[in-house]
Symmetry: C2
Subunit: 365 residues, 2 copies
């Protein structure tokens, strides 16, 4: 079937672009000598995780245990880092169950998180690999870099059932960059602070294997700081408007689009499509002023979106849009989009080739 | 199990509040003498649709054929209005399949939409009940009220395979109201314009049974205009911060909350929860300045949200928040939230009573 024959709205993935994005990142990181551990929250599709592993990723990153369980159960991923704080007995039990089956590591930023995991792991005769979450300015989770991280490392290093394996950050502050020099500086600083903190931990007499960073815009910059050992980008598999705006990708590097149909053309300058925020999400809509980019149609702007409707502003002198036309929207932020669909449809040269279940969709726990 | 024992994040529904919201709206509309046809896009749960029907709704409204199919297949809803434009052969075939099984009606705002449905219905020996979509200023789909609607009605009235049953609008412009008098005026105007348009259609010699309006904030106002026959509110089952801000509901009228766990307290004025935009969506975040309301905790503000993290700003003088604490978030806009979860958990007096599958979740086609 041709892409144009698909019923809409539907999330489609251009396989050539996807594979190019995957191999490009794998090559870049291999050339620098840094491990790649992509975050699968962007796609939540086991088959895409597999492509990343086949291209050279050493394992994957997940935000939730439920994502990790799906990836382990379906395509048998053997090395997973849960880049999050695991809190509560139910989740600790599931973490230890995973640790019995595969190589697992987990984030930690306090003794309140660490204590119960240490205790439970000890009871089951397990040692859980821990990466301390370092905050470089995003002010989300994490301990500040430098001394506070060293202090926590000392304590975690002594706790039974835990193994201090490394430190990690998400340098999300790079998304605030206004110019490429600014992005470059923020990314380099992130790598430098992580390496500096790792040196302090080692100087205090502890072993530390992993210095891990992660964010698509900074992936190729942060890695070049000697001492960074691992990177965990997610969005690079698909790219999106946010990456285009940062100068990290171009429209033709965006692999996932939402194919939509024009269902109404109420006036010369307005057309309505059958995809709204339940397909595209509202992410970054306010900051970007639109709900996504209409691919290959610079005269059409997705100015408003309701749950099941998108409103296009059209340049009447350019517009030949009519009811039934199909067009593709590049999402502002692609990660919440795959999470809204049951399936992603893979196309190559506009021919439908494969349908993937978004198997980890909705795995919020 | 107690609510507090649930693993998080989880979407919970207070059944007492839900049932009160459902019966209140049913009573109000019955007292006015207007039919209630709730929009199920808010919950997407067949069992909740059933409660609405048992309370007196004459049928349901859906945005998508997929939602209608689920509601027909699970709890056997027999009267469904698809408040949307059905475009494309696949969808027309599914619409006609539904029409063979149950009482179905559909929106229409152009001959481009009407023509193919007319043709296909005629071929299958069916007549599809049509409501013309009227635009009162929202500028989404629809023809302008008054003469343009009458003109389209004349044409549709002559088309084989179609039966002109009524006109409908979504008076979403009421969400722009800054004060209650403003809301009241916008709602009344919406009802008046619809009734005026219906009179013009009848004066032109056509029969017209249904004059349908729909939006939770205006539901009890628009209905009082003599001549309005039906209302299609959706959000009222749960309510949300948007309704609270409009003065339509109070915090204690909000039935759906997201129960979340504090996973990190990095500083005295900041706590991080395990629910982000993949649970709460980004809807109205920019306009409201937060990502939801922390129930019963006025000193905590959900100032930022990432995919799997919510960042609370805390008043340190009031805060006793610690890792492991659970709290409830009332969503800004509840409709995209149920669509993010596989299940809603019903609680009564804080005891878990029922788990409902969000059976129409992700039915975007």
């Amino acid at each position: 079937m041709l892409k144009s024959g698909l019923d809409t709205p539907v999330a489609i993935v251009d396989l050539d672009i996807l594979e190019r994005n995957i191999t490009d990142m794998a090559c870049s990181t291999r050339n620098i000598g840094v491990h790649l551990r992509p975050h699968i929250k962007t796609h939540k599709v086991p088959e895409i995780a597999n492509k990343q592993l086949e291209a050279g990723a050493i394992g994957i990153t997940c935000a939730k245990l439920g994502e990790a369980e799906v990836m382990a159960d379906t395509v048998g991923v053997r090395d997973i880092f849960i880049a999050n704080m695991i809190v509560g007995n139910d989740k600790i039990r599931r973490l230890l169950n995973l640790a019995e089956r595969l190589r697992i590591s987990v984030g930690m930023d306090s003794l309140e998180v660490g204590g119960p995991i240490s205790e439970a792991a000890q009871k089951r005769g397990l040692r859980i690999r821990v990466l301390i979450k370092v905050d470089l300015g995003l002010e989300r989770t994490g301990v500040p870099y430098g001394e506070p991280t060293v202090d926590l490392a000392k304590k975690i290093n002594k706790m039974p059932g835990l193994e201090l394996a490394g430190i990690y950050t998400h340098e999300g502050q790079v998304y605030s960059a206004k110019r490429s020099e600014h992005l470059y500086r923020l990314a380099r600083e992130a790598g430098q602070k992580m390496v500096q903190t790792a040196k302090m931990i080692r100087k205090a007499g502890m072993e530390l294997d992993i210095v891990s960073v992660g964010a698509t815009p900074s992936a190729r910059i942060t890695c070049r700081i000697p001492g960074v050992t691992e990177t965990r980008p997610g969005t690079y598999v698909f790219n999106d408007v946010a990456q285009v705006k940062l100068g990290i990708a171009r429209e033709e590097d965006c692999a996932l689009t939402v194919l939509a149909t024009v269902i109404s053309v109420p006036s010369r300058d307005r057309a309505i499509i059958d995809a709204g925020t339940k397909c595209l999400s509202s992410d970054k809509a306010a900051a970007f002023g639109t709900y996504g980019l209409v691919k290959g149609m610079p005269h059409a702007t997705l100015v408003r979106a309701y749950e099941e409707h998108g409103v296009l502003n059209i340049d009447p002198s350019e517009s030949k849009i009519k009811v039934g036309d199909k067009l593709e929207i590049i999402p502002n932020h692609v990660c919440p989009v795959s999470n809204l669909f049951d399936e992603l449809v893979g196309v190559r040269n506009d021919v439908v080739t494969v349908t993937w279940k978004v198997a980890a969709r909705g795995k919020v726990r």
